[in-house]
């Protein structure tokens, strides 16, 4: 038997059981719209790729990471002793940050293409839930090295839920595993990061991808004005898939470049009794809400606890409005509502960028 015939027999055997030919035929018939904004279609795939990189590097880190009292020492060993440990840790951290960036680009591109409209509401809602989970992934992962910066930043971050009336302190205590950030907190965050969050994230991601598959790529309003028979498209298989994979390879190169040239730093071991060092700040994707809360706290009549509560309420309201946009701007005929949603999106970008810039500008 030649290699070709062996391969054909294996394919037939698998095909008979899994129906690969049908799937391939389906993929060949599936098309992806081509227009001036097609570039934005790749960002969901890039986010997925970066998530997969984190899964892979996360498992490798898991081999050497020891949560609890030895957390810092184990990360120190990974970064400065293990062969290529620094590379795996850098790739993991950079992939997380690049994924947050690509997810945000993906979310805004979906928003401005109005891809949340009927029948894609669940796609939007599941996407928002994935963004929320990704943020918690980031927050919980940030503490795990237990260096000075991550310790104090987490300490500050966990002060925010304390301001929630009635239940706030209990929630914060539950997350911390006590009244302060300690090795118990790391243990909890570790469990959250490697078990709870993946258990929630992966099925939700599968649901999100299923919806993308079911409804296909939405076209932007400008494209909707063109009659369907005059719109351009390319087959998903192999044309779009090939380009999508090329974007993955480019993302891999960007990731490798960042991880190699700017390896992820590890600060000094935390000292709970030491004063917080200067320049404590959250990760860039939390800088905007952090700065918004800070700015509201500076308003005279909102100082103190009431300012924090007002800040949390305002922020929650903003996120709720953003999440529920498909139910407000639900139809392509909704001209006025569509325009308001568009301006709301622009306002959100402006607020995010401005508060993030102010946050970095005023780091002390």
């Amino acid at each position: 038997m030649t290699t070709k015939t062996i391969a054909a027999s294996v394919y037939d055997w698998v095909d008979e059981r899994l129906g690969i030919t049908e799937l391939a035929a389906f993929a060949r018939h599936k098309t992806v719209p081509v227009h001036a904004q097609s570039f934005w279609y790749y960002w969901g795939g890039i986010s997925l790729f970066l998530f997969l990189v984190q899964c892979f590097t996360g498992v490798l880190l898991l081999v050497y990471y020891r949560p609890g009292a030895e957390a810092f020492e184990s990360v120190r060993q990974i970064t400065f002793v293990m062969n290529f440990g620094w590379l795996i840790r850098s790739a993991h951290s950079w992939a997380a940050n690049l994924m947050m960036f690509s997810v945000l680009v993906h979310m805004f591109s979906v928003y401005f293409m109005k891809a949340y409209r009927k029948p894609r509401e669940f796609g939007w809602l599941s996407g928002m839930a994935l963004l929320g989970l990704a943020s918690v992934f980031g927050f919980s992962g940030y503490l795990l090295p237990m260096d000075e910066l991550s310790y104090f930043a987490t300490k500050v971050g966990l002060q925010i839920p304390v301001a929630i009336p009635f239940v706030g302190p209990a929630i914060a205590n539950m997350l911390r595993g006590g009244p302060d950030v300690t090795e118990f907190t790391v243990q909890r965050f570790f469990a959250l990061h490697v078990v709870v969050l993946p258990a929630l994230f992966v099925p939700l991601l599968a649901f999100h991808l299923f919806l993308v598959q079911k409804h296909g790529n939405a076209v932007p309003p400008s494209e909707e004005l063109i009659a369907p028979e005059h719109r351009k498209s390319v087959p998903f298989m192999p044309t779009f898939l090939r380009k999508d994979l090329a974007m993955w390879i480019i993302s891999l190169n960007v990731l490798a470049l960042m991880a190699s040239v700017f390896p992820w730093a590890l600060g000094k071991q935390y000292d709970a009794l030491a004063p917080a060092p200067t320049g404590i700040h959250p990760e860039w994707y939390f800088m905007s809400p952090f700065e918004m809360l800070k700015l509201l706290g500076m308003v005279n009549w909102l100082q103190g606890e009431s300012g924090e509560i007002a800040g949390i309420l305002l922020f929650t309201l903003g996120i709720a409005l953003w999440t529920l946009i498909p139910f407000y701007d639900n139809d392509k005929e909704s001209g006025r509502r569509g325009r308001i949603a568009h301006y709301f999106g622009l306002l959100a970008i402006f607020a995010l960028v401005a508060t993030t810039a102010i946050g970095y500008w005023t780091i002390r």
Binding site: T79, F80, V81, F84, W86, I249, N253, L257, W264
Partner: protein, 462 residues
Amino acid sequence: MNYPFWDIPYLGSGWVIGIIAIFHVMISQFAVGGGLYLPLAERKAMREGRSDWLQELVGYSRFFLLLTGVFGTISGVGIWFAIGLTHPEGTSTLIHNFVFGWAIEWVFFMVELSTAAVYYYTWNRIDPKLHLTVGWVYAGASVATLVIINGILTFMLTPGDTWLAVAGTGHEASKFWNAFFNPTYWPSLMLRTCVCCSLAGIWALISASRIDGGTLPQLKSSLVKWSTRWLIPSFVAMPFLFAWYLAMVPASQRALLRLGIDTAGAGTFSTITRIALIIIITSATIIGVAYYLAYRNPVEFNLAHAVAILMLALMATGAGEYSREMLRKPFVIGRWMYSNGVRVPYAAKIDQQGYLAHSEWVWNGSGTSYSRGEAIFRGECGSCHTLEGYRPLTSLLAGRDRANIESFITMLHEYKADSPYHRFMPPMVGTRQDVNDLTDYLNAHVNPAAAVGLKTVQTAQK
């Protein structure tokens, strides 16, 4: 030592050479590879009667002439200026040893420039066979420039025992050929030839990607596919050539590549390993992207794809040149001259007589002179470090008090074989007084508050 110091704050002198060199290498290696690509493509077009190819080649040769003849020559001369100013001691040694080689290179360079212009301006004006001959003359001249400069570049890494035996005697040029055909000459020449061919293919893809695949599918398809094939030598031979090259590099230098395997700590010279990793991933990506996007789908191959491959090639070239430069540490000329311009056999003498006693240009002639510490910093540290910027000493020494900085410099001064810095940093040469002066200068920058009121010792006037 014999020349003035050119202080470049923030960027550092190494990057002045680096930025110009990486830009130049991208173009000069294209000049060599493209020199082979053009006559071979022309010959193929003539044999197969492809007039559409010939028409494309006219446009491509104009692009080639402009890029290599203008940007290549300007950046080439720029390297001369840059190395002369930033590393005069090393440049001086190269000139004394290779003046004959450079003279030959300039002859070929003039032939190269002239024939490139003649080649472009005589399309459809002279007999096609004669035109093709002009192309071959260009190809021969451009390959000759590579053959020569490769000898000089590889000499800096591995000058060879024969040349080292006469180094410093005034008879260095008598061992010209030994220095030229040094241990890494052949693997490096093969490697660079492969890179030249790849760059020829990649730049040709830029040109071919702009052909309208809708109206000229056959032309685009054939040119894109043929250009992609120019990457095959690299794909097949590079891993073996790299292995050969590394086998010829002294074990002490090869060991540098391992420094960054287990750590990413600052000041551990781990950068070289990290940058070397970039060569691997970008090279693999170029092959993958070129195969899937260009070779398998030539008609849909567009300018954005071609630019992406070119950018990857730029990254690979930059990383490769950076690694090659770093592989020489702690020398600029292997075992003969340290990276700060101090000749290895002179170190003991300088330790006895003092660094500034051998520095002819430290006094600037005006009423205010350098402090001794600053002059020593510029001479001994400035080749690789800045105060604030690239490899900044204020950051690398942060957290150390004066005593700690002094013990660190003393460690570099003693240069014991088991010192971790022995592998990639030159010794700090000079007297005890020099160590103190350098310590004072660095301490004043690392701990400004502690250094207030410190009276700096000025350099002696000459």
